[in-house]
Amino acid sequence: MERTARKALHAAFPYTIPIFAGFWFLGLTYGVYMNVSGFSFWYPMLMSLTILAGSMEFVTVHLLLGAFNPLQALAMTLMINARHLFYGISMLDRLKGTGWKKFYLIFGMCDESFSINYTAKIPPEVDRGWFMFWVTLLNHFYWFFGSTLGGVFGSFLHFNTEGLDFVMTAMFVVIFLEQWLKEKRHYTAFIGIGVSVLCLLFFGADQFLLPAMGGILVLLIFLRKPLEQGREEG
């Protein structure tokens, strides 16, 4: 078994190198961001271990700084991470027969680990379960160390960090743009922005999220026919 594991590690590591660069950078920024928001390094450290969903962890900083509202925290997490449902659905078959590793593979299925494990062409002589296990564990590790280091060293930073919180905006703009470029039609992107802006105007900055999430879901459900038709024609 040891040989199988080592062989899989050799095959898996190269796939994670780009994530290595990305997670250290984003993790460090996230740790520093938590630090300048007034949280000790324990927060990014424990959150990177237990949540392991980068964009959601940035949002959690906001949630922690706002008023206590566990229901909104849960609803927001479900909406933001809803995409994981579809990762899971796509991985149902691939995770079969991975034994005890399956639990961790599901637990650690962040965007990056999913993309690698879903798309990687694993050589037939390499154990699939171990390959995916290493990909997930390495990515988890990069994120954990980046975030913790950022949290520890954030307090030693002596340059002006004002405006650093824009990193979250920039990240979501990029993700939104990537999504936009992938799609032929942009109705749902407009629904997301339109409903959110309307709710922001009506309910104010602190109350608009839940109505916005509800509104988006309702609109998507009611507009299913035209949206699906558009898809077939486009």
Partner: protein, 111 residues
Amino acid sequence: MNISQQIITIGMVVLGTMITRFLPFIIFPANKPTPAFVQYLGRTLPAAVFGMLVVYCLKNVQLLTGSHGLPELIAIGAVVALHLWKRQMLLSIAGGTAVYMLLVQLVFPAA
């Protein structure tokens, strides 16, 4: 928020994340096709949610006072331009954030 409220909040985020990751394996047996409605949401929800999150990030921008949202507008323009040009996620994020930090620190300092 006190410490136990913080723990509950983080716990909710962990719970929500785990629900989204484990649910498919609990409710959809691998040998059956996924319901069409779930597939539909899978295709349409991401774009809408990320649009909502961009608005969420900008929710405290004041258009009528202060810098009128100009630093945000310029920096988002920089992110989009960088991303369309190089298509390198990290470069776009780092570049846009640097532009924003320069703008709010040097060009539009708060009074």
